[in-house]
Structure formats: structure tokens, C-alpha cells
């Protein structure tokens, strides 16, 4: 073995430790600890034999669920209503979101962009249940108030996401059409829209998944559907009936989850 040993290739230098990352991590940890301390959460007491027994008895009251045909029919109607509210709210929001996304992506100049973004932020920052409480004043108790509430909040979310998608679409196809004499609407509809649409649909389906959860509880403040039934039966301590409603909620949420995941396959990622 006289052959000269070849030196190993030099490893790249060890990167400098990221001080800012550590500071941020420490800050996050500190915030978490401070939160637990501030709330004075004693989860130790939660796991004591006494409270476990209490919880156990509480859970046992929910079984067996009430499966009387009459009640099942009522729950079925509630479930359909919840489905309709979530779908209608999402649909209205998608339409309004598209309209607001055009100025929000900077197509109508800077002032319009600012205004549109501010509107979207305001719509988004108010939670659905609060919108629902306001809409009950405007439209009366019932599923329509729930659908409007979902639509208002979701418009804020979708408008922002749609706008961002539109900004990321390559501008060349639209410019090519516009420069060869197409009108502004045609240039947008045949060049940029087809590029953005799959992502828009993915976002809409994803929001629908989240809205079905929300629609299920909007009844708490008078928005109809399963939430109203659940709130009613829980407040008069009819646990078995509440359990049936919970099962129905679980079933439709799982169904919509699966359907949306299936439809979204191939449309592009949507995690926002």
C-alpha cells in the first residue's frame, strides 16, 4: 500500500450558530410558560382520581345516544341545514373574494389596493361567531344569518389568498393578449384567470372544510342547524340527544373533509 493516501475533501465550514433563532425560540418558550402561569392552569388537579371520576360520570351520561326515529329526522334536517349554510356561505364568500381580490392584487392602482386590503383585514379579523351575533340582529334568527356570517368572515380570508395567488401568476400571457388587441376583460379571463383558478378552487374547498365546522356551531348564537340543536339539548341537560347531534356533526365534518381532500387532489397546495 504505497499509494499516496488521498486527503479527504475538506468539509464545508460549520455554519455560525444562528443567534437570532435562539433568541426567538427562547422568547416563544418564555411566552408559553408565561401563558400557563398567567392562566394558573392546574392540570395536575385535572388528573386526580376525583376529577377523573367526575369526568367519567359526565361522559357516561352521554350514552347511549338517542336514536328515536323522530329525533333522528330532526337531526337529519339540522345536518342538511348546516351543510347548506356552510356551502352557501363559502360560495358567497368566493364570489365576493374574487371581486375584492382584483383591486387587492394591485390591478386598480395603489390607493384601491390599500383600501381593498384594509377591507379584507377588517372582514377577516372579526370571528364568525361575532359576525353571526351581528347578523342575527340584521337578518333575524335562522340559518340565513349564519350563512351571511360565514360569508363575511370567509370573504376576508379568501380575498386575501385570491389576491396573493393573482399576484404570483406570471403576467406574460395576459400582456400578450392585451398587446394583440384583446380587451381588458378578455385578456384577464383567458390568460390570468385560468392560471389562478385551480388554486382559487383549492382554497375555496379548503375553506369549505373549515366552514362546515363553524356552521355546525353557529347555532350557538342563533344561526340555525346542528349548533342550535346541540345548544338547546345541552342547556336542558339532555345528554343522550346532545350525543346524537355530536355524532351527526362528526359524520358530516368527516364526510366534507374527505370529499374536499379528494377534490383538491391535483389542484395545488392550500394550507392557509
Amino acid at each position: 500500500m504505497n499509494a499516496e493516501r488521498r486527503p479527504l475533501p475538506a468539509l464545508p465550514a460549520r455554519p455560525a450558530p444562528c443567534l437570532r433563532c435562539r433568541v426567538v425560540l427562547l422568547a416563544v418558550l418564555a411566552a408559553v410558560v408565561a401563558s400557563f402561569v398567567y392562566l394558573g392552569l392546574g392540570f395536575g388537579a385535572l388528573l386526580s382520581a376525583e376529577s377523573l371520576g367526575h369526568m367519567g360520570r359526565f361522559v357516561a351520561e352521554f350514552f347511549p345516544p338517542d336514536l328515536a326515529p323522530d329525533f333522528l329526522r330532526k337531526v337529519g334536517t339540522g345536518a342538511l341545514q348546516t351543510l347548506a349554510v356552510s356551502a352557501l356561505g363559502t360560495l358567497l364568500a368566493a364570489l365576493a373574494g374574487m371581486l375584492l381580490a382584483l383591486p387587492a392584487s394591485g390591478r386598480a392602482g395603489r390607493p384601491a389596493r390599500r383600501m381593498a386590503r384594509f377591507t379584507l383585514n377588517v372582514l377577516r379579523s372579526v370571528p364568525e361567531l361575532v359576525w353571526a351575533a351581528v347578523m342575527v340582529l340584521a337578518a333575524g334568527i335562522g340559518p340565513f344569518a349564519g350563512a351571511l356570517a360565514l360569508a363575511l368572515h370567509t370573504t376576508g380570508v379568501l380575498g386575501r389568498l385570491f389576491g396573493e395567488t393573482l399576484e404570483n401568476v406570471p403576467p406574460e400571457p395576459e400582456r400578450a393578449l392585451a398587446e394583440s388587441g384583446a380587451g381588458r376583460v378578455a385578456a384577464f379571463a383567458y390568460a390570468s384567470l385560468p392560471l389562478a383558478l385551480p388554486q382559487w378552487v383549492a382554497y375555496t374547498l379548503y375553506r369549505w372544510e373549515m366552514n362546515i365546522r363553524m356552521a355546525a356551531v353557529l347555532g350557538f348564537v342563533g344561526g340555525g342547524g346542528l349548533g342550535q340543536l346541540l345548544y338547546f339539548h345541552l342547556s336542558i341537560f339532555q345528554q343522550p340527544q346532545a350525543m346524537t347531534v355530536l355524532l351527526a356533526m362528526f359524520a358530516i365534518v368527516a364526510a366534507v373533509d374527505a370529499a374536499s381532500a379528494h377534490l383538491r387532489r391535483g389542484l395545488g397546495p392550500a394550507y392557509a
Partner: protein
Amino acid sequence: MNTATASRAPRVDPQARRRLATTLAALVVAWPMLVLSDFQPWRLFDRDSLAVLGGFLGAFLPPETAPDFLRLLARATLETLAMATAGTALAFAIGAPLAILGTRALSISRIGPGPLRWRGAALRQMVRSLLMVLRAIPEIVWALLFVRALGLGPAAGVLALAITYGGMLGKVYAEILESTDTRPARALLEGGGGRLAALCYGLLPSTAQELVSYTVYRWECAVRASVVMGFVGAGGLGQLMDQSMKMLNGGEASSILLVFLGLVLLADLLSTFLRRLFA
């Protein structure tokens, strides 16, 4: 010649008929939906409800700024923030391990044709089902149940957030890990590295940004959710809002709404900052 073909090209959208049919079909599907959800937009312009709403919104200006109320508001805001942070932290503690267990990107049994492949697949399926069960019931329903079991207070809200968001974080983390380039992790696993090493050196470098921004987004959702937790008695801004709404006190409601807006903008800034940090 060219101009001739151009002039013979159809002037209308070649897919016009198809689009029209799709639209009509969608309308037919949508009709029962409109009926079920009581779609009556004209009700919005009913004189009586306009008067109630107008009175309520009219009282929005000026927002309530009495020192007493502001002190109450500050305490409720802190409580909401603390509830969201604690809930998200617990959700992370539930979701992250389950995501690592359930993601296909870190599966060793998938690499070779081993005899025990089905065991890994079964475990992943179990983890996925567990995550689905966790997230299928909305957080506010959990909160309502926990308030019954644990009494009024933030503990119910925190637990509810932890359960639902644990399920969501676990699912989305697993999906993000699978949707990136999994070859570096696979190379590490094939070279004999452990799963954690493969995660840290093979997957995290390309996904950290997305994971962080989704986590911050969930925190933002948690802030909004802990706002509504108050509606069922779990404390925080929601309880305050509930009281103001029930008394139709527009000034207080608008102060609270302004705080919501501030919190959401804060979460946006935080998300942008963290995303840049991990870029």
C-alpha cells in the same frame, strides 16, 4: 391566407355551451341549498331590523374609552392571548409527535419490500384516524363540554384548543412533510440514520418555513377561537363581547372589535417576521 383563417375563427368562446351547461347544473344543485338556508336577502332591508342594527352600529362611534372598561379590556385581551398561546403549545405537543409517527416521508418499512410493511401502514392509518377524530368536533363544542366538566374558566378553553388544533397540526404537518422533496430523508434513512436525524437534517431544512408559518397561522386562529370561547363561559374577550352584544352596547363592541383587528394584524406581522427568519 392567414387573415382568411383568422376571420373564419369563431368569434364566440368555443366552450360557451359547456360553460353554460355547467352553470345551469350548478344552479340546479344550489337551489335546494338556498331553500334550506332560508336565503332571503330582502329580509336584510326590513325596516325594523335595519332600525335595530342602525341603532347598534350608530353607537359604535365613539368607541368606549372609559378607564374602567379599558382595564377590563386589557385583562381580557391578555387572557385571550394566554389562552391561545397555551392552547397552541399543547396542540403542538400533541400534533408534532403524531405527525412524525404518521407521515409517510419518515417510514423505514416503505423503503424495502420487507415482511412487516403492513404493520407500518396499519400504524400510520391508526394515527391518521386518531387525528381525524381529534379535529372533527369543533373547538367550541369541546369547550362547551369541558366547561360543564371543569367549571367556568380558561382551562376548558385551553384543553378544547389543544385537542382540536392538535388534530389539525398533526394532519397538516404530516402533509407538508410528504409534499416536499423526500429524497434527502430517504437517503439518510437508507444510510442507517435514525428517524429523528432524517427529520432534522433531511426534511426540516426544506419545510421549516412552511411549518412555522402554518403554526403561526394556527395561533392566529386560536386567538380568534379563544375570543369565541367566551360565548360559552371560558373567559377572555369573548365573554366581554357577549355581554356587550346582549346589552346592545355599540361603543364597547367597537372597542373590542378594534382589539380583534389589532391582534390579527399583530399575528400577520409575526408570521412575516418568523417566515423571514427561517428562510
